[in-house]
């Protein structure tokens, strides 16, 4: 049976959704506005009302990428602990909370537990919603991403298998020209980039070219459909630039990454330090003296931003450190081996 919202609940739900859409369309969203809705919902509906919890979820989701990963993990751990008894295990909000918890547990350093939580989540969603359901596909690709990032050869192989399963399910359910299908294809791009950054030159080029072509295509589609400053559009530009680095097209990568960085300033910073990291790498590779100085400055900034956001010893933190060292040590353009060593850790 559907739980019909009361008029008061429906109004809050639509208010939150209206704000989420403004954010999704690349308008600058003040998280304070979402917090305001949450405060009003607590007053009008009560702390434990399902729609108040939805609003709270949106606030946590918006705040998580802006702050420290450990704080986000703790916030979702506690939020999940409240949703479970109040809404039940198979409620979609409980499942979304569980998924966010897994994501931030992983990003805050407990990678193995994060992956275990994702495995459980996928099994549960397959059973509850069905294999091709929207939320099951999301969960499958979350697991694929987590495995790729842990990165043992078995993990990477399984990650590829999960994505090979996921893409056709999304095509069947949503069609090829759908943002949801593009997201799965972008996960394949990230897998190719991951592999390309770890193999020798001959194998690297083919993987990087495939990644470049798909990332460029999807970035264009996303820009046209979701907006040029949409966060997914910016992520695909960044993936495109990563591929360009591997193909020694540094100049193009620099311009693309500058565009991403200014767009991030214009909207909001997510994953602060990532764009700076790749921009530093691109600048270091052009071979221009002026760019080397800019690269060093940008790498230092990437390091500061990443260290502030993540836990000490996180791969991204070590990677930015390695990049900064490499920029300082290397004479001439920074390409291939010394660059890849930094990228590989990050």
């Amino acid at each position: 049976m559907t739980r019909h919202p009361t008029p008061a609940q429906a109004r809050v739900r639509a208010h939150v959704l209206g704000l989420m859409q403004q954010r999704g369309s690349g308008e600058r969203l003040d998280v304070g506005l979402l917090r305001g809705v949450l405060a009003a919902a607590r007053q009008a509906l009560g702390e434990d009302d399902p729609v108040t919890l939805e609003a709270e979820f949106r606030v946590l989701e918006a705040e998580a990428p802006l702050g420290r990963t450990a704080d986000a993990a703790a916030a979702f751990e506690s939020f999940y602990g409240r949703c479970f008894p109040l809404l039940g295990a198979s409620d979609v909000l409980t499942r979304s909370a569980a998924s966010q918890r897994a994501q931030w547990v992983r990003k805050s350093g407990d990678v193995d537990r994060g992956i275990r939580l994702y495995e459980q989540e996928l099994r549960l969603r397959e059973k509850t919603f069905g294999a091709g359901a929207y939320r099951t596909c999301v969960s499958r690709s979350n697991l694929a991403v987590a495995l790729r990032e842990r990165g043992t050869p078995a993990d990477v192989r399984r990650s590829g298998e999960l994505l090979d399963e996921d893409v056709p399910l999304r095509v069947a359910g949503f069609g090829t020209d759908h943002a949801f299908t593009w997201a799965a294809r972008m996960n394949q791009v990230y897998l190719w980039l991951h592999q390309a950054e770890r193999v020798d030159m001959s194998a690297r080029t083919a993987l990087a070219e495939a990644a470049r072509d798909v990332a460029q295509e999807i970035a264009g589609r996303r820009a046209a459909r979701l907006g040029p400053r949409n966060v997914s559009t910016l992520r695909s530009h960044r993936a495109h630039a990563r591929a360009l680095l591997l193909l020694h097209e540094h100049e193009r990568a620099v311009w693309l990454l500058w565009k991403v960085l200014t767009a991030e300033h214009a909207t909001r910073r997510v994953e602060a330090g990532r764009t700076e990291f790749y921009l530093a790498a691109a600048l270091a590779g052009t071979g221009r003296v002026e760019d080397r100085i800019a690269a060093e400055r940008m790498a230092a900034k990437a390091e500061a931003l990443t260290a502030e956001r993540l836990y000490p010893g996180a791969p991204e933190v070590r990677g930015t450190r390695a990049l900064l060292d490499a920029v300082r040590r290397t004479e001439g353009p920074l390409r291939d081996a010394p660059l890849l060593r930094a990228v590989e850790v990050a």
Partner: protein
């Protein structure tokens, strides 16, 4: 036949039994999805009114009717609209005091309509997934604000597609329904005018530069100013004659 806003105003003005009976019918149709009201006999029994009272409010002799049709169809259309109002109010809350592009507002409306359909699946399915009249009005107004010349019929078809897509077996989220409808939304809201010859290449460059300038302006200075200086340096370097 009044539009959604006029009908809402009329209902808000109503008092006494007239209003109480109507709302009781709306509540039964909206919230009692376990009961299938194929005919009015069961409905009037559940609500506790007579056939005559029902047809006085929803039949052809009723003073205010949201649409023409059988009394049950009218009651269903009014119920759809009545359940939609809080969603519309919530969207207005989200847009109060901020400047939003009509296209953003249009997307929010479609997304919210999908949410409405998922919150009221049984009701939404009735009458071939016909959307609430006020939601169609809003969609139409926003499409016009985007510069579209489309008629109300096309807006109604778009809104209906959102309601039906929300019930797809893959159990999409409201956002995913919006994504499904985006190509259609774009076609209606912004018909393509650009010719695909070599002007496109120049247009791409202009678009990229304007994106870039817009990003810098929208970021409101601060940190960006330093970075803008670096970008300009780079541009000068590229434009300078070879050394």
């Amino acid at each position: 036949v009044p539009d959604g806003a006029e009908w809402r105003a009329a209902l808000t003005r109503m008092r006494g039994d007239k209003k109480r009976h109507r709302v009781a019918v709306y509540e039964a149709l909206a919230y009692r999805e376990d009961r299938r009201y194929d005919s009015i006999a069961r409905l009037v029994r559940d609500v506790g009114i007579s056939d005559e009272t029902f047809s006085k409010h929803f039949g052809e002799r009723a003073k205010v009717r949201l649409m023409s049709g059988s009394s049950l169809a009218v009651a269903l259309a009014e119920t759809k609209d009545w359940t939609w109002w809080p969603y519309q109010d919530g969207l207005d809350d989200a847009e109060a005091g901020v400047r939003i592009r009509p296209y953003t507002s249009l997307q929010a409306t479609v997304r919210c309509l999908a949410q409405w359909a998922q919150d009221h699946p049984g009701l939404a399915r009735q009458c071939d997934g016909a959307p609430p009249v006020s939601a169609v009005d809003r969609t139409h107004r926003l499409l016009r604000d985007c510069g579209s010349a489309c008629g109300r019929g096309e807006a109604a078809e778009l809104a209906c597609a959102a309601v039906l897509a929300a019930a797809a077996p893959v159990r999409p989220t409201a956002l995913s329904v919006l994504n499904t409808l985006r190509p259609r939304l774009e076609r209606l809201a912004a018909p393509p005018t650009r010719d695909p010859d070599d002007a496109e290449r120049r247009a791409d460059i202009v678009a990229a530069l304007s994106d870039f300038a817009a990003n810098v302006l929208a970021s409101g200075g601060g940190e960006t100013e330093g970075e803008l200086a670096q970008v300009l340096d780079r541009l000068r370097l590229l434009l300078a004659p070879a050394r």
